[in-house]
Symmetry: C2
């Protein structure tokens, strides 16, 4: 049976509270205060378990390792800051006529949008 450990709680909580997708190392950092001594292997193990349990979902990004966010959100897109490399969640505004742009015979089942630029925090700095 699945046990209730402080590490598991800390990791789940970090992902729920982040409000944005976190990578494995970000999860490690965010969980350390609640679970001192936490190791990266445990982070990976629990990310996998949370994925399997449907608690979080994977956010695949071009050219870098995946991030993870709380599951069950409405369809949305992401923003990646090119300075701090954090990924943020964008509000739902979506593109309705993507299908019209498809070549004949192609069938779309989904899409991903990644906007990049500078986030508010970094824009403030310089």
């Amino acid at each position: 049976m699945q046990r209730d450990t402080s590490q598991r709680r800390a990791i789940r909580r970090a992902l729920e509270d982040a409000g944005r997708p976190l990578g494995a190392l970000e999860v490690l950092e965010a969980s350390k205060s609640a679970a001192p001594g936490l190791g990266i292997a445990t982070v990976y193990r629990n990310i996998k378990a949370l994925l399997k349990g449907g608690d979080i979902s994977e956010v695949a990004l071009p050219g870098e390792p995946p991030r993870y966010e709380a599951a069950g959100k409405d369809h949305h897109h992401h923003f990646r800051c090119e300075r701090c490399e954090k990924v943020y969640e964008l509000g739902g505004a979506c593109l309705p006529d993507l299908k019209n742009a498809l070549p004949r015979g192609f069938r779309a089942t989904g899409h991903e949008v990644l906007v990049h630029g500078v986030c508010a925090a970094c824009a403030r700095k310089r």
Copy 2:
């Protein structure tokens, strides 16, 4: 000085003629008829040289190694077939109001869209 070899010609030509972004192994395959015995190291070397020379550009994809396409095209998006895993180029149709969806203080410098589904060739098969 840069020399003109059959391998280099074959690789450049494969990327120009493909009409869609190719990964390193796809480049190898597509170039073999024009350059028998071609090795993967040479493919990587020439991809890098073509990138530096501005002849091709990199197409980064979520969760997989990059593809490369002829440079200088108008802004466009990509389609990835989930059966054959080929990536196709989509016509220009773009999303004008992405900026409106940005949180206060965020500044966008660009975006990428990846549509996924089944390409015409695979849809025909089954």
